[in-house]
């Protein structure tokens, strides 16, 4: 009877010891992984800051203006170029350069139609 109990207890010690050590082992592994991720996050945050700064520097209004003037031939918007949506009809040429509606694809026309409905 006692022998059996002793045997069981010894087995319990071995099993629980094994479980404890394997648990600790995985915990250590996870901790290492977590700290790796944390470091990765910190690094990525730094990269984001750097990229944000770079983006802000690349989209500087004076730079964009210079590029637009040079490559797109754009210039300052004149007041008379701004037309209200309900007056746009008066500014459309009599014969459209391309009849997109007839071809069935007119994305900009669709947007205007939608806005008119609202």
């Amino acid at each position: 009877m006692h022998k059996l109990l002793n045997l069981l207890l010894v087995a319990a010690v071995l099993v629980s010891g094994f479980i404890l050590y394997s648990l600790e082992h995985t915990t250590r592994g996870l901790e290492r992984e977590a700290s790796k991720f944390r470091r990765g996050i910190a690094e990525e945050t730094e990269n984001m800051r750097l990229l944000n700064a770079e983006w802000s520097s690349l989209t500087r209004p004076d730079r964009l203006r210079a590029l637009a003037e040079r490559f797109l031939g754009l210039s300052t918007l004149k007041a008379q170029q701004i037309v209200k949506l309900d007056e746009i009809g008066a500014h459309v040429p009599a014969e459209p350069v391309m009849n997109l509606q007839a071809e069935g694809i007119d994305p900009i026309g669709d947007i205007i139609d939608k806005m008119k409905q609202q």
């Binding site: 404890l20 901790e31 700064a53 983006w55 300052t76």
Partner: protein, 570 residues
């Protein structure tokens, strides 16, 4: 153990059960104690977990995390980026020649001779290279030279460069704000609170400014062009929201690049709009008109005799564009008559004149968030002559921003606001505003401003469609205690759209010269005013100001179009 069976045989008589029970009990106690110890340790580890393993390469923190600064649309104006500084402990370096060779191979811009000198002369510490990128840092780290290490630092960068120079300001090497909004943030202790909130992570709320970087870019560009075109020595400009007092843009040229390594800026690069005081000249007439109209000593029907110079004691007040006739009040405004304005101020009287100037805040120093602020320069004795000259802006000098704030207050219905560089909405602004003139006075002033742009001296700023109104000013500069005839300060203060003013524009040019296109004139109407026109044309669409055309406007536009067509045909 070998004795044990003998023991047992010796004590045959003694009851063996009892002894066995004792032994069992002993073993039982041992086991229990063992398990209790394990259980105790497990509980202890669960309740008080050990510190997790730190990162392999420790990231040292900056002394203070600074918040990012963004403009009103969220565009980044200032941020911190990680940099590393590489240093060496020469006493630990085994082979200096090899170290020098490796280091210069990884960082080609490091001078080999200089590095060798540093490593041989320094005992325990020498900087190899400061503020390198993370890639370069890793490359050096991977060389694995003993005695060579790095320290992580943070560096403040201003991605918009000179666009943000005066308003955002800059920090020193220890990332402490020493100018502009950067200094304001430090003085507020905002940084301190931010660092307390989340000390471990560099997560702080960005500080949002009222500046619109697109407007700032337009202003800086146009004023820069005007300075070159009119050979001025300096210039500046302000765009302000009239109803909230938010400064959308503030430019002072020459400016500087806040990213530059050595911040040894000259006095010439200071912020003229707040840290300098100027006699604004005729733009101050707007204040005099508001005062006379508000006290009721003048109405739109009042007439002023401008046939002869005004003589006060030994001084004579004359007009620049002398009309030599009796002028109505609107004519005094559009012709910018000194005689008429001086007479208007004298009717109000010296005491009430001073009282009014004090009420609109022109006697006190204007202090906004920008630490750089200058006190106004006032006449020492406020005599009748002082009133007469102060009426048209001679004899007292204020910050240009202060002048803009006062005119904004007079045009927005009489609510004087302290300008701000941070976000503020209309309700907050109105809650802190002081009423300085009646709204009817403000209405008349709006009419005068608009009239001056349609047929007066500010007509070159009248961009068709945007209903501009404004007042020009050409002040003679004081050189060696006397007013100079050659050195002038040309300025323009205007607002648009005049039927319900939203934005104020101030343009100032220091010592503009007459150029071939201006028929020998160097007055404001020929330089500051057209510059303001160009600025308004650029910024109005950004600020959602809807153009409105009157039939006359449409006729003018049709004419312009025809002219252009003819040009093209030729």
């Amino acid at each position: 153990m070998t004795d044990a069976p003998r023991d047992l045989s010796l004590h045959d008589e003694a009851p063996p059960r009892l002894e066995g029970q004792n032994r069992l009990r002993l073993i039982g106690i041992c086991f229990t104690a063992f398990f209790l110890a394990i259980a105790g340790q497990v509980t202890h580890l669960t309740l008080f977990p050990k510190q997790d393993e730190g990162p392999l390469r420790p990231i040292t923190e900056a002394p203070l995390p600074r918040p990012d600064i963004v403009d009103r649309n969220g565009v980044l104006l200032a941020t911190d980026v990680a940099v590393a500084s590489i240093f060496a402990d020469p006493s630990k370096i085994i082979d200096i020649d090899e170290a020098v060779e490796l280091l210069t191979a990884t960082m080609p811009d490091v001078d080999a001779k200089e590095l060798r000198r540093k490593l041989t002369t320094a005992k325990r510490f020498a900087w190899i290279k400061r503020q390198v990128s993370p890639e370069e840092r890793d490359a050096v780290y991977n060389l694995g030279i003993p005695g060579v290490s790095y320290v992580n630092e943070r560096r403040r960068v201003y991605p918009q460069g000179r666009l943000s120079s005066h308003v955002v300001g800059y920090v020193d090497l220890d990332t402490k704000g020493i100018a502009g909004i950067e200094k304001y943030l430090d003085d507020q202790g905002a940084l301190y609170t931010a660092s307390l909130a989340e000390p471990a992570e560099h997560k702080t709320q960005p500080a949002q400014m009222s500046i619109d970087i697109r407007v700032q870019a337009a202003l800086i560009d146009e004023i820069g062009q005007a300075i070159t075109k009119f050979k001025a020595i300096a210039g500046g400009g302000i765009v302000m929201n009239i109803n909230t007092g938010e400064v959308l843009s503030l430019v002072s040229l020459p400016d500087f690049n806040p990213n530059q390594e050595k911040k040894n800026f000259s006095k010439d690069q200071q912020n003229r709009m707040t840290s300098g005081v100027y006699e604004l000249g005729s733009v101050v007439k707007a204040v005099t008109f508001a005062m006379a109209l508000d006290y009721g000593t003048a109405t739109l029907e009042s007439r002023y005799d401008a046939r002869f110079p005004l003589v006060l004691g030994s001084a004579r007040i004359n007009d620049f564009h002398a009309q030599r006739r009796v002028l109505t009040l609107p004519e005094v405004f559009t012709n910018s008559s000194n005689i008429g304005t001086a007479k208007m101020a004298l009717e109000v009287g010296t005491v009430r004149h001073q009282e009014f100037l004090r009420r609109v805040g022109l006697f006190q120093k204007l202090q906004t968030e920008l630490p750089e602020a200058a006190k106004p320069l006032l006449p020492r004795r406020w005599s009748k002559l002082a009133t007469a000259t102060a009426a048209f802006g001679h004899g007292f000098a204020v910050q240009p921003l202060q002048g803009a704030a006062v005119v904004a207050g007079l045009l927005n219905g009489g609510h004087l606001l302290t300008p701000t560089f941070l976000r503020r909405n209309e309700e907050e602004a109105m809650a802190m505003a002081t009423t300085v003139v009646k709204s009817s006075t403000s209405e008349v002033l709006r009419y005068l401003f608009r009239l001056n742009a349609t047929e007066g001296s500010a007509s070159k700023a009248d961009v068709i469609g945007y209903r501009v109104g404004g007042k020009t000013g050409t002040a003679e500069k004081v050189v060696a205690g006397r007013y100079s005839k050659e050195k002038r300060l040309a300025s323009f203060i205007g607002a648009f759209p005049m039927d319900n003013p939203k934005y104020l524009v101030l343009v100032m040019l220091d010592e503009p010269k007459a150029i071939p296109g201006t028929y020998g004139f160097a007055t404001s109407g020929w330089n500051a005013v057209p510059t303001a026109g160009k600025i308004i044309e650029r910024i109005a669409p950004m600020l959602d100001v809807e153009p409105v055309f009157t039939p006359e406007d449409l006729q003018k536009l049709a004419k312009l179009e025809e002219q252009e067509k003819k040009k093209k045909q030729n």
